[in-house]
């Protein structure tokens, strides 16, 4: 087990280094920030001064080296546009994104697993078919367009909920600004969270349904039936426990994907999170912020994947065995 964890961790570090190089070289090849960031009316001396201040006069390897040294000290460069450290700019926005992602995930889990179970146990019933039709719809509706439609109906037509922003926040533990502690915050959170949850909700429904359908055909279910166990016990204990392993894994992995997809929802609802910052920064060619965002999200992903892998191998010993053989 320890060998597995160590090997898996080393692999994660290798991926992180490769991604940082890829992202850095890629992003630093985009356009020419000098043209965008420096006043066109500036004279030659001003220009050179600005270029030196931003470190753009040095060669690419030199820039990468100073970037890596900085990154190791938690310094991911200064935003060209905001003139503040890129890292703190992103960390400032992180609670908003995390709150949105967690709210969406909770909605998806609380609704998705019971609905999926129902559809899996009664696939031919009207309710089962309706749930599946709904999940296909959830898959087919593009997130950004659903967001627009939510704004159209609930903000413009009905006027019930605000269409953008986060509203006033309350500090949790005195440091983390959150929306869910005030009514006004809930009103702002509702539409973006529902919007972000829809796709994951559809995914969880299908996953639970497929798992339940396959589990019901297994011998252990037939055996449990033959033993005369109650239906509630067969489903609640035997079926649910067996389908929960893949579901928990997917929930873990999807947390990262929700954070990535928050980019879209944040752009639609002007939610002041990291994703909106990224899109704004791409538009302004604010490279330190783009690089910092990508590195932070890649790191986040690698950590999530690592934790899920280790948990999964702890839950299911077969994974460990095949890994060490392969």
């Amino acid at each position: 087990m320890l060998a597995f964890i160590i090997r898996r961790s080393l692999q994660s570090v290798a991926v992180l280094v490769a991604m940082s190089l890829l992202v850095f070289v890629g992003v630093y090849a985009v356009g020419n920030p000098i043209d965008i960031l420096i006043n066109p009316q500036a004279d030659q001396i001003e220009r050179e001064h600005a270029i030196a201040a931003l470190g753009l006069d040095r060669s690419l390897p030199e820039q990468y080296l100073s970037f890596v040294t900085g990154a190791a000290h938690g310094d991911l460069g200064r935003s060209f546009v905001h003139s503040t450290p890129a890292l703190s700019l992103i960390l400032e926005r992180m609670p908003a994104t995390m709150e949105l992602a967690l709210a969406a995930m909770v909605i998806a889990i609380v609704l998705g697993i019971p609905l999926g179970l129902w559809a899996g146990l009664k696939p031919r019933s009207i309710a089962g078919r309706a749930i599946m039709a709904g999940s296909i719809l959830g898959f087919s509706l593009p997130t950004f367009w659903v967001g627009l439609m939510l704004i159209m109906v609930f903000s413009v037509m009905l006027g019930w909920l605000p269409s953008s922003g986060r509203g006033p926040t309350v500090d949790l533990f005195g440091v983390i600004p959150v929306s869910f502690l005030s009514l006004e915050g809930w009103r702002h959170l509702a539409l973006p969270a529902i919007n972000l949850a829809l796709f994951k909700l559809a995914l969880l429904i299908r996953l639970t349904r497929a798992g339940a359908r396959e589990a019901l055909l297994q011998d252990y279910v037939k055996f449990a039936r033959a033993k005369g166990l109650t239906n509630a016990r067969i489903i609640g204990v035997h079926v649910l426990r067996n389908i929960l392993i893949p579901i928990v894994t997917v929930i873990g992995l999807e947390l990262g994907s929700v954070i990535a997809f928050a980019i879209v929802t944040e752009s639609v609802f002007a939610w002041p999170g990291m994703g909106k910052l990224l899109i704004d920064s791409i538009g302004l060619l604010d490279r330190p912020v783009i690089v910092a965002y990508l590195l932070i999200i890649v790191t986040l992903f690698i950590i999530i994947n690592l934790v899920v892998d280790i948990l999964y191998s702890a839950l299911d010993p077969r994974v460990r065995v095949t890994e060490s053989k392969g």
Binding site: V15, L148, L294, I297, F301
Partner: protein
Amino acid sequence: MPGAVSRRAVETPLRRIAGDFASDAIAMAGLALLCAIIAAALLAPFISPQNPYDLSQLDVMEGRLPPGSPAPHGVYWLGTDDQGRDMLSAILYGLRISLGVGVVATGFALVIGLVMGLTAASMGGRMEALIMRVVDIQLSFPAILIALILLAVLGQGTGKIVLALVTVQWAYYARTVRSAALVEQRKEYMEAARGLGLRPARIVFRHLLPNCLPPMIVVATVQVASAIALEATLSFLGLGLPITEPSLGLLIANGYQYLLSGKYWISFFPGIALVCTILSINLVADQLRDVLNPRLQR
């Protein structure tokens, strides 16, 4: 049940699949909708009332008219956008671009994925480990993130968005075809083919590949839909196709700013077209998956 066996024996696989497919009314409705959408996209230049790219046909004075307003050529059934463009025509042409980009990207990704997956499965060893490691790492990141990184790096353009979609998708095919090929390779007909001394290329292309196709068809169908959705999303975020050739995503983005003042149609109708396209493809894919999945056949 000897009767069932002999009846199955005279059926060709294709007939059986077609028969199973037609047994579900919703799937058939999806197929009909999809055919109608493809026909509308192909025939756009002949059936649309206006050429939305021809600036001389546009009149800014006719901008943002609600659906049903009178037009020089008849009626603006779906209204006009801020440039005075007939929304119906813009949607028909946008459908062409969205479908085209999705199909072309899926085609390239399918070929690359097939080659990589078959190479991994038939060569084994280090090559297989290398290819599958890359696939694993890539699939551990969501498609939208990889596409965003690429477009942030490459800039905009039709070719670049196709490249981004191909990069995002090839790994799905590689993984699917490899796992199918590994299963097939252990079967007796493959052993027989090897025993006959057939050339490796012949074994791979005539025997292995056709038997790996069913799961690939399902994945490819789903991926066309997700490619179209991803392209629309990227275009909406302003990172996709250029404004000169608006796809459905860009049309929706155009209407975003007018939505808050109640001019819903500029975003609403292109979105409906997009949803119908993706939904019909997903309905077809869903039924294909059930029909082609041996595990659900009892």
